[in-house]
């Protein structure tokens, strides 16, 4: 999102309170959504729950194309449409809901750096495994991605998507990597996160921030999603403090919430190992 668009969104957003009818759109949960989109969607849902903003989750086969940026998830609030975590955080802030207000400038810069790390490492690794690992691509990603479409459009669209992601991998220099190197990158990323987290409940001690939402979204999805092999989940499981971090956020923001308000917005998922 451009700076001008961002400014525009935050100006308009400030005028109205958060409506009850706010909706988050994502691809079909059972048949279509892929690891990376599922992780991003969970991160946004977690962030909104941490802010205490109600959201209904709606699955649409064309969610990706409905999104103004072409990426899922996106939220429809009032007559505003905002996609991806970064702009959604800005949008919520404009409406007076922020998790990072208590941080000083140094901490905020640090948070941004870690968020970039997660996006550059974990998200890219997820995309790499989905589309560049041939067995995962042919057994899971392509069939799931194209499930809403009729023959022969299903093949056209899934190969087009694969080609796009591979082009992106080429551009950022990941095309030459093999699966082992990608797992190694994931491990290093988790190592860094684990060290930063230490024994604190959240990354910046007592208060959750958008970084916590993002890390939880990715790690929890990696841990609970069945892939062609368990190697990726195993890399994360090596870090016990990250595991308990995921467990804690799930307990606090999903299990309890669901118990309190046998909610309209339920995120059903597997539980942690």
């Amino acid at each position: 999102m451009s700076l001008a668009a961002e400014a525009f969104v935050s100006q308009i957003a400030a005028a109205e309170p958060w409506p009850e009818s706010a909706t988050l759109y994502q691809p079909l949960k059972e048949d279509q959504i892929l690891l990376s989109d599922s992780a991003s969607s969970l991160a946004v849902q977690t962030f909104l729950r941490m802010c205490g903003l109600p959201i209904q989750v709606t699955c649409r086969p064309n969610a990706e194309y409905m999104s103004p940026s072409g990426k899922v998830p996106f939220i429809h609030v009032g007559n505003q449409v905002v996609s991806e975590l970064g702009p959604i955080v800005q949008f919520a802030k404009a409406k007076g809901n922020s998790l990072s207000d208590g941080l000083d400038d140094v901490q905020r810069a640090e948070m941004k750096a870690y968020m970039e790390l997660v996006n550059n490492m974990l998200l890219t690794a997820e995309l790499y495994i989905q589309w560049c690992d041939d067995s995962t691509a042919s057994e899971i990603s392509r069939p799931r991605y194209s499930s809403p479409y009729a023959w022969p459009l299903n093949h056209v669209l899934s190969y087009q998507k694969q080609w796009e992601v591979r082009k992106k991998m080429n551009a950022i220099g990941w095309a030459g990597k093999n699966l082992e190197q990608v797992y190694e990158d994931v491990s290093q990323c988790c190592q860094a996160l684990s060290q930063r987290l230490g024994t604190q409940p959240y990354f910046f001690n007592k208060q959750p921030t958008e970084l916590d939402a993002l890390v939880f979204g990715h790690l929890f999805t990696i841990l609970t999603t069945q892939l062609a092999s368990d190697d990726l989940a195993e890399k994360v499981k090596a870090f016990s403090n990250l595991l308990s971090f995921c467990h804690r956020i799930e307990q606090t923001y999903f299990k309890e919430h669901d118990r309190e308000s046998s909610g309209s917005s339920r995120h059903s998922k597997g539980s942690l190992p």
Binding site: P61, N62, E64, Y65, M66, N79, P148, Y149, A150, L153
Partner: protein
Amino acid sequence: MGTVHARSMDPLPMQGPELGVQADDMDLGEPDREEKQEVLENKDVVVQRVHIDGLGRTKEDILTYEIADVFRAKSLIDVMKKSHEARQKLLRMGIFRQVEVVIDTAEGADAVPNGLDVTFEVKEMRRMTGSYNTMVGNNEGSMVLGLKLPNVFGRAEKMTFQFSYGTKETSYGLSFFKPQPGHFERNFSLNLYKVTGQFPWSSVRETDKGISTEISFPIWRTNHTLKWEGVWRELGCLARTASFAVREESGHSLKSSLSHAMVIDTRNSSILPRKGALLKINQELAGYSGGDVTFLKEDFEIQLNKTLFWDSVLSTSLWGGMLLPLGDKPSSIADRFYLGGPTSVRGFSMYSIGPQSEGDYLGGEAYWAGGVHLYTPLPFRPGRGGFGDLFRTHFFLNAGNLCNLNYGEGPRAHLSKLAECIRWSYGAGIVLRLGNIARLELNYCIPMGVQSGDRICDGVQFGAGIRFL
């Protein structure tokens, strides 16, 4: 190219010259020219040979069908008439730039005194012709390159390729056309295309990539077209501010449809006709041949024209259509009907009638529109017999309605729904005919029956198009 071959064609066996030759004509052989001069006008003549000069890659067999009638001529007048018809037929095939007819007395060893030779001197089209245009419109400029290969395989097949490169969108189309030899109206065509359209009244951008095959054939006075079309459609929002109803329609769909069109056209001209009628019925069934879009669509168009006093023409027309979504999916914004604008219900903005969401018109599943026009020549008839004849003044009354139907309610409820909230308008203006394909209109319109949400164009409205209510 460039070399000109002369080929003689043997007459068809059925109409062989021998059949018409009388025995007593055979022994006329005086060398004196004076005596050979005869008045052939009322006499029986025999067309002995037909030559076609100037053939290069054209195959002879398709031409024999077109010129066969010339051999049936029995008098000189007949020969001239039939030759003229044959010339028209040859030109219609679109493979010759020029066709000239020369009728001469027969020469050669087997010539008979009342025998004639007809020679068609033709000039073939170039193997490939190209065109280059620039277009401006719809907030976009584009450059259109066209390539045409007339007569690719020598039997009037035509291959055309068009490529349009615009400031916003590129489109292309490749088509192959093949007529049945001897029956030019029966033809087959195959098209491959990619078209991108921007529809600001709906805030929609649509990209279609498709393939279609088509067979056209006449039955009695009607023309039929059977078509199969497979098209991959991608819908998107034109702007970030597009309404959510339009955003929900974004994405890919695959339509495979069979359609049938029937046309009866007895008008003397398709733009500004003076007499005759037009009936067009079109039906499309999507989904049963694949794809993920299923619907049945019917629409029709009727136009009647009658010349009244002082060269004025009264023209009435009626359009209507219905879209029935089959299966459980609702209809798509790309398939629904739109109404309004300077070419349909005048006085309203382009396609700005009926269901809408935040100013984006969503179209309707049923519509009708009718119009009555009185066309008269310009007052005081300036430029009569020339430029002035391209213009007409007209007075019009248009009406129409567009809505969505609840198909569970039955026909009575549908009719009452289509009859309530009728939009109508009246006014007058000037019409300019552009060739025989398009027309321009400048009208003063007064819209009536405006419903909330409709966008009107009160006063002067300018329109250009090829299809008019």
